[in-house]
């Protein structure tokens, strides 16, 4: 099993280096150009050439390493391309200074000059979670996790709930296939076994708060498992606990939310929803099945255009729907009675972290005194406080991976690729401040945003 896994993984490293190569080759080309122009007092061309090549290779290797942990890599690489001459001159300057500098030094010098030269506008985005190519795995990764990583990085599984359930299901397979090595206990070694799997998933796409909470619970259960239990029993118990978690915190919670929020929907209402939330979908379908007559306005937006999927589900049920794109929301908001949105996570200060665009919808609704109701399970609660959407965010890959541009506009008139002076960013999330939210419907009740910090208390424990 693991042998085949490693063989398939070896194909990937070359892909990742190829992907980074274009940015690097630009820098190299510009540096070699700069080399020809300014006069250099180099004693022997051959020795200097060799030294320069060594520096370039070291810079390339350090940049590859830096592009992994530091997502600003590609931002600054493109900034490097933009101001080709100055950083190239600094590379050559560092070559002159001393070819035997430590690995990180040449890249650090270029990074300093590029961050000075690159526009302030690009620096402010440099901490966003950039999309990374699936890198080579370290250690044995279970094939279920590899598959899940690929599904995440290609956005085949999206949505906080879906990702969490998929992760937990994959971990169940991993646990069942796990064999405790001799002289080790399951409760201690399983944790170290799971770490590289988790790292692999994070490298595919930054972890969602739901996945984080669920994995934390799982680790708690693992470390608390009884040492005297035979291995298969311990594994079965863990899988049972995972099933219980999914059932209690997600499935049954969703049903409770569906009933509670369903009472907020009356006959003749016009409900507005944004993008696609699995919980809101359930609420609307449930209310329609109960016989309530209402209509839905689905607001959608790039980059993901998820609203179309929700639209097909609702139309299949026969619910009268209106569909429009986010900028047009000002014209219909006066006709809307309630806004229902989902969330990625809730924060202690009452802010809701959700799909990019939710903040705009909530703001417009509040302006026109339309209640904004967020449907969210309690396991999405995160103890951190986020002040704005810049604290933590994720970028979708540039280009048209979601086929989100209309066919009426030909693709070559659209700007799909980065160019000189042009950066394309697609933040996936934004933060809705508590002032724009009327209420949050959870399985423990309908609470105002100011009481969100007391959710753990409501669940009867001090930590979530």
């Amino acid at each position: 099993m693991s042998a085949t896994a490693t063989i398939t993984m070896s194909a990937l490293p070359s892909k990742s280096t190829i992907k980074l190569a274009p940015a690097q080759s630009h820098a190299e080309a510009s540096s070699s150009q700069a080399q020809n122009q300014p006069p250099k007092s180099q004693k022997q061309m051959t020795k200097a050439e060799r030294r320069e090549q060594q520096e370039r290779q070291r810079a390339a290797k350090a940049a590859t390493k830096a592009a992994g942990p530091q997502p600003s890599g590609s931002n600054q690489n493109s900034a490097q391309v933009k101001k080709g001459a100055p950083p190239a001159a600094s590379t050559s300057a560092s070559v002159k200074k001393g070819g035997k500098g430590p690995d990180g030094k040449p890249t650090k010098d270029t990074k300093e000059t590029t961050s000075d030269d690159s526009a302030r506008g690009l620096r402010i985005f440099s901490h966003f979670g950039l999309p990374k190519p699936p890198g080579p795995s370290k250690g044995d990764i279970h094939p279920a996790i590899i598959r899940l990583g690929l599904q995440f990085s290609e956005f085949k599984i999206v949505g906080a709930n879906a990702r969490c359930i998929a992760t937990l299901t994959a971990f169940k397979t991993v646990i069942q296939d796990y064999v405790t090595p001799p002289n080790n206990t399951l409760s201690r070694h399983l944790l170290t076994h799971l770490s590289p799997q988790i790292t692999h998933l994070v490298s595919a796409r930054p972890m969602s708060v739901t996945m984080g909470n669920a994995i934390r619970e799982l680790k708690l259960e693992i470390s608390g498992s009884d040492i005297d239990l035979p291995e298969q029993d311990a594994k079965n118990l863990l899988c049972q606990k995972i099933d219980d978690y999914i059932s209690e915190r997600i499935t049954i919670a969703d049903q409770v939310i569906q009933e509670t929020a369903g009472t907020k929907i009356k006959d003749g209402d016009v409900i507005l929803t944004y993008a696609r939330s699995s919980v809101v979908e359930q609420v609307l379908v449930g209310a329609w099945d109960d016989g309530k007559q209402f209509s839905v306005v689905v607001v959608d937006s790039r980059p993901m255009l998820e609203g179309k999927k929700l639209l097909s589900v609702l139309c299949a049920m026969g619910i009268p729907c209106t569909y429009l794109l986010l900028p047009s929301i000002g014209s219909v908001i006066t006709e809307v009675s309630t806004v229902l949105v989902g969330a990625h996570s809730l924060h202690s200060n009452g802010a809701v972290f959700s799909r990019a665009g939710t903040a705009l919808v909530a703001m417009m609704a509040k302006q026109h005194s339309v209640p904004v109701v967020v449907c969210c399970e309690t396991y999405k609660f995160a103890e951190t406080i986020q002040l704005d959407s810049f604290t933590k965010n994720e970028l979708a890959p540039a280009g048209d991976i979601f086929s989100s541009f209309p066919l009426t506009r030909s693709k070559d008139t659209l700007t799909l690729n980065k160019q000189l002076n042009l950066e394309i960013l697609n933040p996936l999330y934004d933060l809705t401040p508590p002032s724009s939210i009327t209420a949050v419907v959870t399985e423990v009740g309908v609470i105002p945003p100011s009481s969100i910090s007391s959710i753990p208390l409501a669940l009867g424990r001090t930590t979530l």
Binding site: A119, R120, G121, L122, I124, F125, S301, R302, P303, K308, L311, S312, C315, P320, C321, T322, Y323, L324, L325, L326, P327, S328, I329, G330, S331, V332, T334, R355, A356, G357, A359, L360, M363, M364, Q367, D388, S389, F390, N393, F405, P406, L407, T408, R409, T413, L414, T415, Q419, L420, N421, L422, E423, I424, L425, N426, P427, Y429, D430, L431
Partner: protein, 375 residues
């Protein structure tokens, strides 16, 4: 009224433009304004009239026809009103020799009170020929019906040329003070493709180093063209989808958008998405600056936020026929313009200076004549 072949030629020219407006072969505020001025020039040069009222009626009927063809292109009506205003100016100058500051109505109005004592901004033409022969401005001359027209027409042509020049240099005039409005290291947000904003930003580029964030403005995606154009001019540009406007607003220093038409209360019609941007900016106390030429000033109101005032575009750019099974089950809405209230706007930068929304009514009073508000 002229009854010969010249009127037929005029008809044809007017009808052609009306047809093009109706079929939306001419779109965009500046393009329609230019076309309208050219048509009016032709009409006036061929028109036959013996007194001022006949001329005004000719132009008014042309204006009515064009406005009916496409009521959503407000600059058509604005240009007609401007030409009428210039014509009356010239006529008063020619017949009395001084610029007259009044309307023909005798009713009391606060606006009249405000305007008393304020000189009209338009130049008094230095026509020596007319000054000499102002007593020769014969109206309704029975022997020589064309005398009036003959003496007035050259002056009218000059006036129309003024209007045309203003339209052609509008971008340059607006961008004159660009570098005073944009500071170093600023991050500016803009949406859609406004040629005025584009000229403004490009004018400041050689003097200042700043970043522009462009939202791609679905479903017209004008933001893509704007981003291409700005980045090729050397301005550091970031293209983002509309959904991230609120997310990024906390880092944005000012918002700069264009307008389709500026309404009498200081509000404006602008491309869809402008209301979102202006509201988000207000929520973050970010200044909203609108770059627009004075030809966009419209003496109309949208007090009751009429839904029908927004123009509607093709729904297939929102939900195309590739979603075949949804197309007949779903209502798709694709308004082309948003109405933005004056409270959300901080300043209008026009080719005639910078004005707050609260003084737009005064600009309109100065630019147009009261009796032309209803063409």
């Amino acid at each position: 009224m002229a009854t010969d072949s010249s009127s037929v030629a005029n008809q044809r020219v007017v009808d052609t433009l009306a047809a093009r407006l109706r079929r939306r072969q001419v779109v965009g505020s500046r393009e329609t304004a230019l076309e309208t001025v050219l048509v009016l020039r032709q009409v006036i040069s061929k028109a036959r009239f013996s007194n001022i009222d006949q001329l005004v009626e000719i132009i008014r009927s042309v204006g009515r026809k064009l406005v009916e063809a496409q009521p959503k292109e407000h600059t058509v009506g604005n240009t007609v009103r401007k030409v009428l205003h210039h014509i009356r100016e010239e006529y008063h100058t020619a017949s009395k020799g001084t610029a007259v500051v009044s309307t023909s109505k005798d009713t009391l109005s606060i606006a009249k009170f405000v305007l008393q004592g304020q000189p009209r901004k338009q130049n008094v033409p230095q026509k020596t020929t007319l000054n000499e022969s102002h007593d020769m401005l014969k109206e309704n001359d029975a022997d020589d019906p064309d005398a009036f027209a003959r003496t007035l027409k050259p002056v009218l042509m000059e006036a129309i040329q003024d209007v045309l020049d203003e339209l052609e240099t509008v971008h340059d005039n607006i961008s004159k003070n660009a570098k005073d409005h944009i500071h170093s290291d600023e991050i500016i947000l803009t949406i859609g493709k406004s040629s005025t904003v584009e000229a403004f930003l490009k004018a400041a580029a050689p003097y200042r180093k700043y970043t522009v964030i462009v939202a791609d403005t679905a479903p017209s995606y004008g933001g893509h063209d704007m981003a291409q154009s700005l980045s090729s001019a050397g301005i550091s540009t970031v293209l983002v989808p509309d959904s991230s406007i609120y997310a990024l607003m906390s880092r944005i220093n000012k918002v700069m958008i264009g307008a389709h038409a500026i309404l009498a209360n200081g509000g404006m019609f602008a491309i869809t998405g402008s209301l979102l941007v202006a509201t988000a900016a207000r929520a973050h106390s970010t200044p909203v600056v609108v770059c627009a030429g004075q030809f966009k000033l419209t003496p109309q109101w949208n007090l009751y936020h009429e839904y029908g005032a927004l123009d509607f575009a093709d729904p297939s750019s929102v939900l195309g026929f590739e979603e075949g099974n949804l197309v007949d089950k779903v209502d798709v809405v694709n308004p082309f313009y948003d109405y933005v209230r004056p409270e959300l706007i901080d300043a209008f930068i026009t080719n005639d200076g910078d004005h707050p929304p609260s003084s737009v009514y005064r600009l309109i009073k100065e630019a147009y004549d009261d009796e032309d508000y209803e063409l």
